[in-house]
């Protein structure tokens, strides 16, 4: 679940990390009142769940409350990347001595949270890490054991920070790390974390993302932030027609499970894949062998023929797809013959020859002998567990690329 900046600031504040005396409103007149309360130059920021606010004109500076009201009025009517603002955040324009970056992110490879700290804040941490790696401190910590402040201090020191700033920044990063753990976050980021001219530190912007599965445990926080159940997880993108269609097929039948994603995929190899991490492995294998997937999918949990057929039909009907690769890791619950029936049925219902349309069928496991009889009948190339996922993906890519070349 993603949070707007004004919500992320509140989360940070509740964790004991200093923030500016900001205000959130959906009303331009109230923006003026907030600016009057702040009593100095302000920054008016659009509250949207998308990047590129500054470039799009969603962040403006105001010297007077009247100017703040005018900017708020403009920003509230400004659509950014297809997102209308939830409101505006009115923030004091801080007297900044230096900007830092503090973040905690879930490292899926190490399966541990990772702290990141830099004395070069206000810009993308990825850019800093690439251009100035010596200015970025990193450190994993346990998600199970209690967090200790010294762990934060080591990471900050690794970015070259010493003396009083090191002492003052340590509790900030430590609180962010504890917030990450206690709040079931996937990402907890303060950028910039500003050192003001008086030597104090405040969070000038924050970005939080909560693990969807953690939401039931975080009901109190979500409620306190005024977020209703109708908002769901605020998924980052609008599902495509393919994604919507696959979701509907899955919901219509309790047997098995299918998922399909095609955002960012523009290839010609349709993938009907799954089983115990098999989807990610196979997608990577297809790509690394030079193939261009048209989609990502997951199929498993012993789906019905109708469900396997539905997924395969949706994949086959995507623009640019002429063949599909049906591949899974070794299955025990899902039946090979049922998936075989489903994908063949999809071809037949779309008026396609299964033997020509299915580039490779590599699903070994339960009922494979029965499945192989079906595949034989329709002249489909298949292989058993003696052929690795890598090799099966390679065969599919070679077949499709060969056809394109011819």
């Amino acid at each position: 679940m993603r949070f707007f900046e004004y919500e992320a600031r509140e989360i940070v504040k509740r964790a004991g990390i200093p923030v500016t005396d900001y205000g959130f409103t959906t009303d331009a007149a109230e923006a003026k009142t907030i600016a009057e309360r702040i009593g100095g130059p302000t920054v008016i920021k659009s509250q949207v769940l998308t990047g590129g606010r500054m470039k799009a004109g969603g962040v403006k500076f105001a010297d007077t409350p009247d100017e703040a009201r005018q900017h708020a009025e403009d920003i509230l009517q400004l659509e950014i990347n297809g997102h209308w603002p939830r409101g505006v955040l009115v923030d004091p324009k801080a007297e900044v001595k230096q900007e830092y970056y503090a973040g905690v992110v879930w490292d899926g490879t190490a399966k541990k949270p990772l702290m990141l700290f830099s004395d070069m804040g206000g810009i993308d941490i990825e850019q800093v890490a690439e251009d100035h790696p010596d200015h970025v401190g990193r450190g994993h910590f346990s998600a199970l054991e209690p967090f200790h402040d010294f762990q934060a201090k080591q990471v900050i020191a690794a970015a070259g920070v010493t003396g009083k700033p090191l002492q003052r920044l340590t509790p900030v990063l430590a609180r962010l790390a504890r917030l990450f753990l206690e709040g079931d976050m996937l990402l907890a980021e303060i950028n910039p974390l500003a050192e003001l001219t008086d030597g104090s530190f405040v969070a000038l912007d924050a970005h939080m993302e909560m693990e969807d599965e953690g939401m039931p445990r975080q009901k109190a926080l979500i409620k306190a932030l005024g977020i209703g159940a109708e908002e769901g997880t605020r998924e980052g993108h609008t599902p495509t027609p393919f994604e919507e269609a696959v979701k509907a097929i899955d919901a219509a039948d309790h047997r098995g499970v299918i998922q399909g994603k095609d955002t960012g995929f523009h290839g010609n190899i349709g993938l009907v894949i799954g089983a115990g991490g098999g989807s990610l492995t196979l997608t990577d294998a297809v790509r690394q062998q030079g193939g261009k997937p048209a989609n990502y999918s997951e199929i498993g949990g012993n789906p019905s023929v109708a469900k396997a057929c539905g997924l395969a039909k949706e994949v086959l009907q995507k623009d640019g797809v002429e063949k599909i690769a049906v591949m899974m890791s070794i299955v025990s619950n899902t039946r090979v013959d049922i998936v075989a029936r489903g994908v063949i049925k999809a071809c037949l219902e779309l008026g396609k020859d299964p033997g020509e349309t299915i580039a490779i069928f590599r699903i070994p496991g339960a009922w494979e002998d029965e499945g192989f009889k079906i595949l034989d009948k329709y002249g489909i190339e298949y292989c058993d567990r003696s052929v690795s996922l890598w090799d099966a993906a390679g065969r599919a890519v070679a077949k499709i690329q060969g056809e394109v070349a011819a």
Partner: protein, 80 residues
Amino acid sequence: MKKDAIFIGVEVDDRVASDAAMGAKLDEVCPVNIFKGTESGVDIVEENIDECVLCGLCIDAAPAGTVKIHKLYSGEVLPA
């Protein structure tokens, strides 16, 4: 009565097809709803035929030889 889908064919002897009690039994045992019991016997639900999981429960529930499952892709028939 015999109905074929793409992969599976279901054959029910006329005595069973017109027996309401047997129809209810087949309706109850089939995990993928291929049989629908009626007042006059049993109907075969065509759209579900290819969902057959070859469990053989219908064959066991009916008198020997009165229900047969045809694997149209291999020519085999259950019970063998």
